[in-house]
């Protein structure tokens, strides 16, 4: 039977209040802190509760052995208790007072009262939680497990709040700029007025061009490596090259395009497509290879046994079976090409690009520069201080984010759908 220990439970409740309120003052509210007495009271109360339950704790959590207060248990506890006492003392003695301005080690930051006090309380609250859990579950492996798992859960919650916050901030601020005109009219007066039509078109053509280059090359390379190549040396070299290409920073692709393409084809849609296509190549090769590898050999053997040639087997049997995986890779490639700025900023885009000329209404003039969403947003960010572009910048960010996330969502759905459906 497990005894209920009210004291550590109460101190956990206090600690949660301290944690949430100090995080609130740390992250959101930088005005005057109004809960200082509660913080001091909370720390002192948990000091009392924890020392009381430590004194009355005479058996381990499994209720069989006596607690042995070794130095390695007692010293951290004593240090924590000293901390709970020190913070209220610092505040009441006026050392941590509202006029605090603390500079140390020559860092170019000033640590003020509004920052230092919530930080001290935050650390205190985490220590309270640690000690309370130890006292609740005893100093056993079980206690350590509860402690670690609650920290892990806390970090999961933190990440989710953070990442959810990023999306909701953009949604909340950007929705105000949304209108049909915003999406369908070109930008005017340095982006202060008008919309983002040319950017959407430019993004579309760049992505199309990039996929036209990277999809055949990438899938072809994957097929060669997986179905044809008997030469393991070549395979090793290609694998290393793909790995390196995958890691090449996007700005280096930009430099490469500047040196390699701009002198020959100029700042143009063509140059941008080639660079983005090369950048996408490793993604598509790797995902296609994964997909081809997952096709079982028995299918290939069956086809060969019927007298099909190698290419017939690949075309009629292997590719159809691997299609969902290959498609997923391509869709991810589309999203990546739509969201990259650095590779194209000197090779394909200009802020003032006019809508692209279409031959016969559907073949774009590839020698023209274009504007795309990322580059437009970058320019709006540069204009932020000088011109009134903030609303349009939020709108552009929202469109870009929605575009990229929905493409990625399609990729994930396709993959999950087929992963469930296909079982060999």
């Amino acid at each position: 039977m497990k005894k209920i220990r009210p004291a550590p439970m109460a101190s956990i409740a206090i600690a949660l209040f301290l944690l949430i309120s100090s995080l609130y003052y740390l992250l959101v509210e930088a005005e005057e802190i109004t809960v200082v007495p509660f913080w001091i009271g909370g720390l002192l109360a948990s000091l009392l509760l924890i020392s009381a339950s430590a004194v009355t704790l005479n058996r381990e959590a499994d209720d069989r052995t006596r607690v042995s207060w070794t130095a390695e248990r007692l010293l951290p506890l004593a240090a924590d208790l000293a901390y709970f006492l020190a913070v209220p003392l610092l505040v009441s003695s006026g050392r941590v007072a509202p006029d605090l301005k603390f500079v140390f080690l020559g860092l170019s930051a000033v640590f003020t009262y509004d920052l230092v006090l919530p930080l001290l309380v935050l650390v205190g609250s985490i220590l309270v939680i640690k000690d309370s859990i130890n006292l609740l579950y005893g100093y056993t492996a079980r206690g350590r497990e509860v402690l670690v798992f609650s920290m892990v859960r806390l970090s999961a919650v933190f990440t989710l709040l953070l990442l959810g916050g990023i999306i909701s901030v953009i949604l909340y601020k950007g929705i105000g700029a949304m209108s049909w005109e915003f999406l369908t009219s070109p930008h005017l007066r340095l982006g202060q007025q008008g919309g983002i039509r040319t950017c959407i078109e430019g993004t579309f053509w760049l992505v199309m061009g990039a996929m036209l280059i990277s999809a055949p090359l990438g899938v072809g390379a994957a097929i060669y490596l997986n179905e044809y190549s008997k030469n393991s040396g070549l395979k090793r070299v290609v694998t290393i090259a793909v790995g390196c290409l995958n890691g090449v920073p996007s700005v280096v692709y930009g430099l490469f395009g500047l040196a390699f393409l701009v002198s020959t084809v100029g700042i143009s849609l063509l140059a941008g497509s080639i660079i983005l296509g090369l950048m996408n190549l490793p993604t598509i090769i790797l995902t296609s290879q994964e997909a081809l590898k997952s096709v079982p050999n028995s299918l290939r053997e069956g086809s060969v046994a019927l007298g099909a040639s190698r290419w017939q087997t690949v075309r009629k049997v292997v590719i159809p079976s691997a299609l969902p995986g290959v498609l997923t890779g391509m869709i991810i490639g589309v999203a990546r090409a739509a969201g990259e700025t650095a590779p194209i900023m000197w090779t394909a885009v200009t802020f003032s690009a006019t809508p692209i000329h279409l031959y016969y209404g559907f073949i774009p003039d590839v020698t023209q520069p274009v504007n795309n969403l990322c580059y437009h947003l970058l320019n709006l960010i540069y204009f932020l201080g000088a011109w009134d572009v903030e609303q349009n910048a939020w709108g552009t960010a929202l469109v870009l984010l929605a575009l990229v996330l929905s493409i990625n969502m399609v990729a994930i759905l396709v993959r999950n759908h087929y992963r469930k459906k296909v079982s060999w």
Partner: protein, 308 residues
């Protein structure tokens, strides 16, 4: 890989064989494109930066204490120090949040929360870096400026926080895959011996997945060093040695931000232009070494400990 050459002696299938050969040649060309691309990238970066290295001197360029384009002084030390500071801090944030999150997803989360969380995190890995940069400028920089009473919130710290958060999904996804690849029998064996779940994770699962986790961390170092747009917008872009050297609250510059920030306004062919290519060349070499070593480390650790 099945070897299959149909006995083709009757001449009937000759045209088909030519077709087969043609397809194979096309596929071979596709396969060597990535080698070609890598060679071309290295060639052009070396070619364009050669002039700067010759003019300034390799050692002066790499170890020079000052980066001052108007005076034609190009020393990369401030950039290297900035990059080291940013990468260390960002990686700290990245690991501190990313690995616990991976442990949560692979070991603790129930089926429902994994169904929901895993795609959500994969989705977030795709958020464009310029969007992070935009939020960095309007939210993070403003926040830091206010709470640390800094002259400007654009700082190495801002860059580190932004990059650290940005690459959490990338780290978590790979680490989670590595953790999930550990065979169930290992964990069950440990649990059957009476170990708690945490003891099992620490003593069995994490060591068994260590090759994947270490490789993921090294890959993330490469991503952080190579990230451009977000860093460009928040680090302040002042290539000057911080004093003291570890002052993360000062403005700074990293490889990518220097290139992206200055390339737009240099004269084509000037020493400044070539020096920026030299910065790019150093960055490319660092990232390539990181990528190859991540691969090697994964292989080596797997050989030694039999990891997954």
């Amino acid at each position: 890989m099945i070897v299959m050459d149909p006995p083709d002696k009757r001449g009937l299938l000759r045209s088909r064989r030519y077709g087969e050969g043609f397809v194979e040649a096309l596929l071979f060309f596709a396969a060597i494109t990535s080698i070609l691309a890598m060679v071309l990238i290295f060639y052009f970066l070396t070619y364009e930066s050669f002039l700067a290295f010759r003019e300034v001197g390799v050692l002066e360029m790499l170890l020079g204490q000052k980066w001052h384009p108007p005076g034609d002084i190009y020393g990369m030390m401030p950039i290297i120090v900035g990059s080291v500071l940013i990468t260390t801090l960002a990686l700290f944030i990245n690991i501190l949040v990313g690995i616990p999150l991976a442990i949560y997803l692979s070991e603790l989360a129930g089926p429902w929360s994994r169904e929901f969380l895993k795609p959500a995190i994969e989705l977030l890995a795709g958020v464009p870096s310029i969007v992070y940069g935009f939020l960095g400028v309007l939210v993070l920089v403003v926040y830091l400026e206010r709470s640390f009473n800094m002259l400007t919130g654009r700082s190495i710290l801002a860059g580190a926080i932004l990059l650290g958060i940005m690459f959490i999904p990338a780290l978590t996804t790979i680490c989670e895959d590595a953790l999930r690849a550990v065979p169930k029998e290992f964990k069950e064996g440990s649990l059957a011996l009476g170990a708690t779940r945490w003891q099992t994770i620490r003593g069995v699962t994490l060591p068994a997945a260590s090759s994947g986790i270490i490789a993921a961390v090294i890959l993330n170092v490469g991503r952080i060093i190579g990230e451009t747009m977000a860093a460009l917008l928040v680090v302040g872009n002042v290539a000057r040695l911080p004093s003291p050297v570890f002052d993360a609250f000062d403005r700074g510059a990293i490889f990518t931000s220097v290139i992206a920030g200055e390339m737009g306004e240099v004269a084509h062919g000037s020493l400044h232009y070539h020096s920026l290519f030299a910065v790019g060349f150093v960055l490319l070499v660092i990232v390539t070494i990181l990528n190859i070593s991540a691969d090697q480390i994964r292989v080596a650790i797997r050989k030694k400990f039999g990891g997954y």
